[in-house]
Amino acid sequence: MLFNSQVFITGFLPIVLALYYALAAHRQARQALVVAASLGFYAWWDVRFVPLLAGLTVANWLIAVWFGRHRARWIPVLGVVMNLLVLALFKYADFLRGTIFDLAGQDWQPWHLILPLGISFFVFQKISYLIDLRRGDRHIYGFLDFCMFVTFFPQLIAGPLVRHNEIIHQFRADPRGPAMWENLSRGFVLFVIGVAKKVLLADTLAMVADPLFQQAAATPLSAAPAWVAVGAYTLQIYFDFSGYSDMAIGLGLMFGLRLPFNFDSPYVAVSVRDFWRRWHMTLSRFLRDYLYIPLGGNRCGPLRQAANVVATMLLGGLWHGASWTFVVWGGLHGLALAVNHVWASAGLRLPRPLAWLLTMLFVMACWVLFRSPDFSSAGQMLAAMMCANGIGGMSLDREFIVALIAGVAIATLGPSSQAAALHRLRPEPWLAVPAGLGLAFLLLLIGGRLPNVFIYFQF
């Protein structure tokens, strides 16, 4: 069940929300409801995934309780290893086997294990808790608190990567406090903004980007369509992912819970370091706190620091997907971050517009690698962007052009979603009306767009 689906918006969410507030006075009951609803939400995708999610949740809680009693520092390590093994098995087994067999020059058959949805997110979430325990955090949570922390459906599938110490304490508060209506309102508006980003912008842009990337893998593209494809994808991935995050944060708020922000206008960044402070912020801080800093961070010499950041970003790339294209994508960003650091340390500065342009060109070139199925396709697309096949041209339909212009304007000039919904929003009726109308229209759009008219007989 997607957040941007009719069944979720008109069925699942209102029912769960109504029951949640009906049970609000009883903490255990409302939490049990959220856990049950979250498992149901997860089972809707594929019921076969539920035992893994539930089993891993119980196992991690038992490890935490065990550690709470004995305080042996190897116990959380055991838990981390267990989580990493599960992730490696389900997400990386074929990738690792393929790499080994390919290096050995042997044929191999992939296992094709089903990848449980959101496994990268909920495994990292548990790992961060276990590492915090080992570092001295003394929070051993109750079973229901822990289950709700892990399974809470707004953040279960694609984050934000919420830390235990920024949400579990919120479970205590009765959601019917004085801020209830404000939370519901701001959450509602942020959710609508997220749906609009996804349905109006990301999906529209994808209708052009997807076929062009497919075409590029098969036949050479000229420069114009290549730039259109990469530009469209650059906006698509931002509005898709940040839209999802907006929906998740908005939903959390409707339940009276504040989730961390995940995006802060990343396409206004004027350096790669600035970009990673604004893009998928909860992953960036996870990588920083649980990889980069333990590796030595910037507490060592420049060369080691550069190696640390590259290694961190290589693993960050691998986290995005079991493919070498993701690893190289991460590695390129790691290298850019290292260069960025040297540049800044030397006190060098570029004019702001030029810095922004270079950052965007780098980010876009890297998105080609991120989007392409293999290095060959990525190379063809990059070559096409550099006019290897001529400049060419292409006609674009009006819907796409509107989405492209709106996307560029919102991504570079507009306020971030959270600024709009959580800071600037005022409880004025003239703002409530477009929010309500917008959701109704988006629901219609989710149901299906108007199909292209087939010009069947052109006389």
Binding site: Q6, T10, E166, P178, A179, M180, W181, E182, L184, S185, R186, F188, V189, I249, L253, R258, L259, P260, F261, Q418, L422, H423, R426, P427, E428, P429, L431, A432, V433, A435, G436, L437, L439, A440, L443, L444, L445, I446, G447, G448, R449, L450, P451, V453, F454, Y456, F457, F459
Partner: protein, 352 residues
């Protein structure tokens, strides 16, 4: 961690939330109720008994209701190469009440699905005609099941209740609006209630120069798919479906399969690889018909006075309205056992 600027008056926020959420819920409810009550395709289980007309130009949406209608006892199916046959021209010749269910660019799967709907509603159908073209002669595993045109699968199932979950989208709202406008007289009907709608200009506007620009590009039609080995060993997946379709029809129903009259530029040159495929396909169709009581196969897809005259066509596939009427007369003549240079009867079983 997020934090936000809080306005402390809960009552104001309550009004805001109620207005926003209430408005969304209200609009959704009203729009959904409108679409469901109008039911633009007349296929919902609890559809109001309104005098609906077909309004959706994608026949995949508008024809299931016609296929169910008790105003007809006979049907003609096919693609756009069959759409121009007027039921009114066929009715007197066959003493039947025809509905034209031919759909633009229909796949064999889509035609079979529509025939199944017709057959469920008309277990004692009088005549079932099928225009056989390239869609039925694909070989190997290359059969296209659906086209890029939307296909509302729920309308073709026995259980139509899932249709209530398919009614809240922009397209359904648009079509409900059109149907409502037709029902209230605000819009004139632009599609025939017997399925017939001419999609070519009237013959009085025939422009041979423009037609020739299309005909000039016409190339011999070649059914898609893998073909290895002897023709007798080739697999024709669409014809396997046709075999099941014919078996599902009542024995007494008259079945007419006719190869449509492609313009001569689309006909495969003798002894070419394409000719081999078409010949094998025709042989298989004849074999199917011979195994099916009350069935005939008529072949218009050969050099004839119709197909050899370029000015009978708008393009390689689509003939003029006058040719369509001639075709109807020819089908009736073939059914009476008459011969004509326009066609060849490949098999005809009239036994009771």
């Amino acid at each position: 961690m997020s934090s936000f600027t809080s306005s402390s008056d809960p009552a104001v926020w309550r009004r805001f939330f109620r207005l926003a959420a209430g408005l969304a819920a209200g609009i959704v409810a009203v729009v959904y109720a409108f679409v469901v009550l109008v039911d633009p395709w007349g296929m919902l289980p609890m559809s109001l008994p309104l005098d609906r007309a077909p309004v959706t130009s994608n026949q995949r949406f508008s024809y299931p209701a016609l296929a169910q209608s008790d105003r007809f006892d006979s049907a003609i199916l096919g693609t756009s190469t069959t759409r121009l046959l007027r039921p009114m021209a066929l009715d007197p010749a066959f003493h039947a009440r025809f509905v034209n269910l031919a759909m633009n660019d229909a796949t064999a799967f889509e035609m079979s699905s529509l025939l199944a709907v017709f057959n469920r509603a008309h277990p004692a159908a009088k005549v079932v005609m099928l225009g056989v073209d390239v869609r039925w002669c694909v070989t190997g595993g290359g059969e296209e099941i659906l086209t890029p045109r939307p296909f509302p699968a729920w309308m073709y199932q026995r259980d139509l209740w899932p249709g209530y979950g398919r009614m809240f989208n922009l397209f359904a709202v648009q079509e409900a609006g059109k149907e409502f406008a037709v029902l209230t007289g605000l819009k004139r009907e632009d599609m025939g209630r017997d399925g017939y709608t001419s999609f070519v200009p009237p013959d009085s506007e025939y422009d041979p120069v423009r037609a020739m620009t299309h005909l000039r590009d016409a190339r011999p039609s070649s059914p898609a798919g893998d073909r290895s080995g002897e023709p007798a060993g080739w697999r024709f997946p669409a014809l396997e479906r046709l075999r099941d379709d014919l078996a599902g029809l009542q024995v007494a129903s008259h079945k007419v399969l006719f190869f449509v009259p492609y313009n001569h530029r689309l006909l495969a040159p003798p002894r070419s690889p394409e000719a081999l495929v078409w010949a094998e396909c025709k042989r298989r169709v004849v074999a199917l018909a011979r195994a099916t009581p009350h069935s005939a196969v008529v072949d218009f897809m050969q050099p004839t006075p119709i197909t050899l005259a370029d000015d009978n066509y708008w393009d390689g596939l689509h003939y003029r309205v006058s040719v369509a009427d001639q075709l109807a007369r020819d089908l009736a003549a073939a059914d009476r056992g008459e011969t004509s240079p326009d066609y060849q009867v490949l098999t005809d079983d009239r036994s009771d």
